[in-house]
């Protein structure tokens, strides 16, 4: 077995009013390699949660097949459930009247973690998600972020080989979201295979090796992160603030395009999009700005937002 998750031509319909069927997923195929982090990206309603739930054995596929660590999600649910943890986003799904530690112990026990391992791992997990101080408080006193981090701790307690994350950062303030990303990042270093679902590009950008894009239940892209970003049509954006005069018409290097050029008193701001990330191009840029007094330069790789916008615009 070389893949942690295999999705083969999976379809799923939901009955809707009027006896009609809603096609939430259609002929979806992709894999998540062992130790790989795949970002499943799509706007709301694209089918991300439906797919995650199929992999988590909560929903049955209407057609096609899927396997987690080689176990079929329909025929071999026990195998799937033993090798996988799922974190479904949001802050519900915890027992509010008992403490965080007790929640961990309860779900850990259900996952088949032995008493001895529980005793050993629970404090470690609480530390890892920064909940050690609040561990013995009732969960109803937790903030949204704390609950979400408790979900992460519960999910990781059983040391799953595969982790399914559905919109893990949704509803978190930026600081909490960053902490969560750091936790996921650490897992990735430990070799856990992860399918990360999000409509937030930042999550995928920071965490994924590869991006699968879902649109209206179909896969519209399956690319390494770098290439996906390249779909934006350019690789980097350079923002230049300077004093003086630039003759763009004469000296703009090939492969660079002016996105914006504004002047405010003595200061001018120039935003350039670069088609590729190359030394030659940066060299040419350097010569371009030789004659002016540079106040500030900012170079950043193209964002997934931009690729996302391009892809979404291409939709029929």
């Amino acid at each position: 077995m070389e893949h942690a998750v295999e999705v083969e031509a999976v379809g799923r319909t939901f009955p809707i009013s009027g006896g009609k069927q809603l096609q939430a997923l259609e002929d979806v195929s992709f894999v998540v390699g062992l130790g790989e982090v795949v970002g499943l990206l799509g706007v709301n309603g694209a089918g991300k949660t439906t797919l995650t739930k199929i992999l988590a054995t909560l929903l049955l596929p209407s057609s096609g097949a899927a396997r987690v660590m080689g176990y079929d999600v329909v025929a071999d649910t026990r195998g799937v459930r033993t090798s996988m943890s799922v974190i479904l986003g949001g802050d519900r799904g915890l027992y509010n009247r008992i403490s965080g530690r007790e929640n961990l112990a309860f779900f850990g026990m259900l996952a088949g973690v032995s008493r001895r391992d529980l005793r050993e791992r629970i404090p470690l997990m609480l530390d890892q998600v920064n909940l050690a101080d609040a561990a013995d408080r009732r969960v109803e006193t937790y903030s949204k972020g704390m609950r979400q981090r408790l979900h992460v701790a519960i999910g990781l307690l059983s040391r799953p080989q595969v982790l399914l994350l559905d919109e893990p950062t949704v509803g978190l303030d930026p600081l909490e979201a960053d902490r969560l990303r750091e936790t996921i990042h650490q897992l990735r270093r430990e070799g856990t295979s992860i399918l990360l679902t999000s409509h937030l590009l930042l999550d995928v950008e920071r965490l994924a090796d590869r991006v699968v894009m879902l649109d209206q239940g179909r896969v519209t892209a399956d690319l390494p992160l770098r290439k996906f970003a390249g779909l934006a049509g350019y690789a980097a954006v350079v923002t230049l603030t300077y004093r003086g005069a630039l003759d763009l018409a004469r000296s703009l290097p090939a492969g660079a395009a002016v996105d914006r050029h504004t002047h405010e008193g003595e200061l001018s701001t120039l935003v350039l999009k670069l088609r590729e990330w190359s030394g030659d191009l940066f060299g040419a840029l350097g010569r371009l700005v030789d004659d002016v007094q540079i106040q500030d330069i900012d170079v950043r790789p193209a964002r997934l937002e931009e690729a996302f916008a391009t892809l979404s615009a291409r939709r029929p």
């Binding site: 988590a56 929903l59 519900r92 259900l110």
Partner: protein
Amino acid sequence: MIRTELVKTLRRPRTWVTILLLNALPTLVAVLLALTDLGPRPGSGPAFLSAVLADGTLFPLAALAIILPLFLPVAVAVVAGDSVAGEAQQGTLRYLLVRPVSRTRLLVAKLVAVIAFVLLAVVVVAAVAYVVGSVLLGDQALAASVSGTVLTPAQVAVRTLLAIGYITLSMLGVAAIALLLSTMTDSPLAAALGALAFLIASSLLLTLDAAQTLQPYLPTRYWLAFVDLFRDPIFWRDIVRGIGLQAVYVVVFLGAAWANFTTKDITS
């Protein structure tokens, strides 16, 4: 799994509040009886109320007869209706079902917890009523059976235990109906009310002559047959029928609950 469900039930404040409330009415009745010494006329009012004036040790049976028609089934419907739907509403159901514990086992654990609750409630009500009855209404060495003959304390004790068993069993039909509804909705309230509606319909039909052909199959039909345990000799016919009928309800509704739950999409 079963153990944790039991612990969860016992640790819930709701369990104990419900049991406390179940004790309130019988205790009030005992106080009133002790103060006024006026029982209902024989033949009217819940069974045993007249007999307990003569002997407080029969009061557990009176107490059970008081809560049996309404309060106990309401409590059972609420607890059983909450068992799966409550987890769905909290969002914990999906996190239970992604664990390597089969849905069948989860349902069995829920059922065991409900049965434990019923048994606990019935036993506590009987025990409290025994104490209250002995203290307020006095206990004589010899109690009269419903048929007028005398029962020894040992006989009373054995028959009380049998009655507790029969009443618990009678509640299993309610529990099975509520459990089925609980697997069908995400609202614990809807499940409990649905089961109650079923029981109320059953009680109404029992009073309707036109429904005579249905009556032997209504779930509440033989509930009060536990009184027959206190006839001399014990009149078994209705008790046996009651047990058989409850068994049918349990098998049919639990079967449906199982079939529904084990194949259900978890969307909540």
